[in-house]
């Protein structure tokens, strides 16, 4: 019975992530539209895009590694979703823990790098080089934040971290007890989502969407699915670390959407940083904030 339950959770959790992620993508596009005084896309637009892309009749593949790259990009996030507890479902959260999750969240970028490599498009190579550099930038504050939270609660088990915060009430949430780390975390979530001003690796007008340049049909569809997971993972992970996770589905969704909405509201007001400025900026401010936050919770 226990194994059956677990199997059901492992199927349901990525599905929930996909559906919630679709609405997060919609929210992102709606926010962009409102800031630009437009109406924006209709409710099911992200779903239409994905179905259309998978339904393309001619698919242009550049070889086996191109296919595997996309599978890794989506699969890495599907695996990550099973480690993120949602109300009522813990999945593998108490077995995996934060460190496994941090590793799994790197797999999509690496898979994408593999796939883009085989396309042999110079724009794609430039884009993925920039994307991996950006990953190097935001992973340092991200690791500091994860280390700080794990130190503070004395565990790397995400389910325990959520339980401890919920037992302490809103005053005991990570955001209240570790404000500097929470701020640094928000920075790295913003960079992780790859929106302006950290959007240099996409740069549609300059390098023709970088890693996505040779992706059409089901390959681009896979990347659209990956994006929904990416939004969900970032939102839920941050809510679990700093906002006490979800007591029920309502608060869970409100927190996850709010976490994604904050970077999006900032993003569309900005142009983008160049790669070296991005590195300088992220290695300076979030890292300093994170280190100061670490010092505070250790003393």
């Amino acid at each position: 019975m226990d194994a059956l339950n677990l199997a059901l959770e492992l199927i349901l959790m990525p599905l929930v992530a996909f559906v919630v992620g679709l609405f997060m993508v919609l929210m992102m596009r709606k926010i962009a539209a409102r800031i630009q005084r437009r109406v924006g896309p209709p409710l099911l637009q992200p779903l239409y895009d994905i179905i259309k892309l998978y339904g393309k009749q001619t698919q242009i593949s550049h070889g086996l590694v191109h296919d595997i790259g996309i599978v890794m990009a989506v699969g890495g996030y599907v695996a990550a979703e099973t480690l993120l507890p949602v109300p009522g479902m813990d999945g593998l959260a108490d077995r995996g823990g934060l460190i496994t999750l941090a590793y799994l969240m790197m797999i999509p970028s690496l898979g994408l790098a593999l796939g883009v490599g085989q396309c042999a498009n110079p724009n794609g190579s430039i884009g993925i080089a920039r994307a991996l550099t950006a990953m190097l930038a935001y992973d340092i504050p991200f690791v500091i934040v994860i280390f700080g939270v794990a130190w503070h609660y004395g565990t790397t088990n995400l389910a325990d971290i959520i339980a401890l915060q919920q037992a302490a009430g809103p005053g005991g949430w990570g955001a209240a007890t570790m404000p500097l780390l929470a701020l640094a975390g928000l920075f790295s979530v913003h960079a992780m989502l790859g929106k302006q001003p950290f959007e240099i690796y996409v740069a549609p007008a300059e390098i023709a969407t970088g890693p996505m340049v040779e992706m059409g049909g089901k390959f681009l569809g896979g990347l659209f699915v990956m994006q929904t997971f990416q939004f969900y993972t970032a939102g839920v992970l941050y809510a679990s670390l700093f906002l006490g996770g979800g007591e029920n589905w309502l608060t869970f969704l409100v927190k996850a959407f709010a976490v994604v909405a904050i970077p999006m509201c900032i993003a569309f007001l900005f142009p983008r940083y160049r790669t070296e400025d991005l590195l300088k900026m992220i290695w300076k401010w979030p890292v300093l904030l994170g280190l100061a936050g670490l010092w505070l919770i250790m003393h």
Binding site: R29, A33, Q36, R37, R38, V39, G40, P41, P42, Q45, L47, Y48, D49, I51, K52, L53, G55, K56, Q57, T58, Q59, I60, P204, A205, A208, T209, M212, V213, E214, M215, G216, G217, L220
Partner: protein, 243 residues
């Protein structure tokens, strides 16, 4: 104008559309796919002429194409619509054909402005390809000099309607009558014209080859065709390589 047959456009040859699927589930699925295709159009705008100036207002806050699910994309691989917005010189036509052949089907071509319909004010120009429909299967023309954003959006809605009802499959015509299109292209660019895309191979692969896919013009192409070679990788500066 004597050649009104060019507009409106209909695919010639075997215009059968998709083979009708058996069973309720597959039919519902096909309907869903057609609906999603019509509601999600990524467009690649090849802004050759003055018509390009009418597209930013159509896309931005005043008319906002995104509410119809239409958004700009930047590479042919990602795009569904190729927008050709104005006169097409012989030089640019080559690039348009290269771009078109890289797009994945179903793909649609929209000719905006009078120049793509019949050459417009460039009718007497020696360097302008006058009727776009002769070189690429155009799905929709939006006439005008230039059409206003309202006209562009009305045209887009018409294309969406055609896609939803399964009428917009002119892209298959390019595979079915490749010889015809290639002949017109060779007339303009010379006998040695070739693109990196193996259109005949694709037509065979997707089951779209018809009796007119190959012919005298493709035979001519195969005489001259140089297979694509990967570029040689060289390290070191330019000076060192010189003997």
């Amino acid at each position: 104008m004597s050649d009104l047959k060019q507009i409106p456009i209909h695919a010639e040859g075997d215009a059968g559309g998709d083979p009708k699927s058996e069973g309720l589930f597959t039919r519902v699925f096909d309907e869903l796919k057609a609906f999603c295709r019509s509601r999600s159009l990524f467009m690649l705008h090849y802004c050759t002429g003055c018509g390009a100036i009418e597209l930013p207002p159509a896309m931005t806050s005043r008319f906002d194409m995104e509410r119809l699910g239409i958004q700009p994309m930047v590479t042919p691989r990602q795009a569904d619509i190729l927008l050709v917005t104005g006169y097409v010189s012989i030089k640019t036509l080559k690039r348009i054909i290269l771009t078109y052949e890289q797009m994945g089907g179903p793909k649609y071509v929209i000719g905006i402005c009078s120049c793509t319909v019949n050459g417009g004010m460039y009718w007497q120009s020696y360097a302008t390809a006058k009727v776009l429909n002769e070189y690429l299967p155009v799905d929709l023309y939006i006439a005008g000099c230039m059409p206003r954003p309202e006209a562009v959006i009305t045209g887009m809605r018409q294309l969406m309607e055609n896609i939803r009802t399964g009428k917009a499959d002119n892209w298959k015509d390019y595979y079915r009558r490749y010889d015809h299109y290639l002949g017109n292209q060779q007339q303009l660019f010379g006998e040695r014209w070739q693109t990196p895309t193996d259109v005949i191979g694709e037509a065979d692969h997707y089951g779209l080859a018809g009796p007119e896919t190959t012919g005298p013009h493709t035979a001519l192409l195969q005489q001259h065709q140089v297979p694509l070679q990967p570029l040689e990788m060289r390290l070191g500066s330019r000076q060192e390589r010189k003997p």
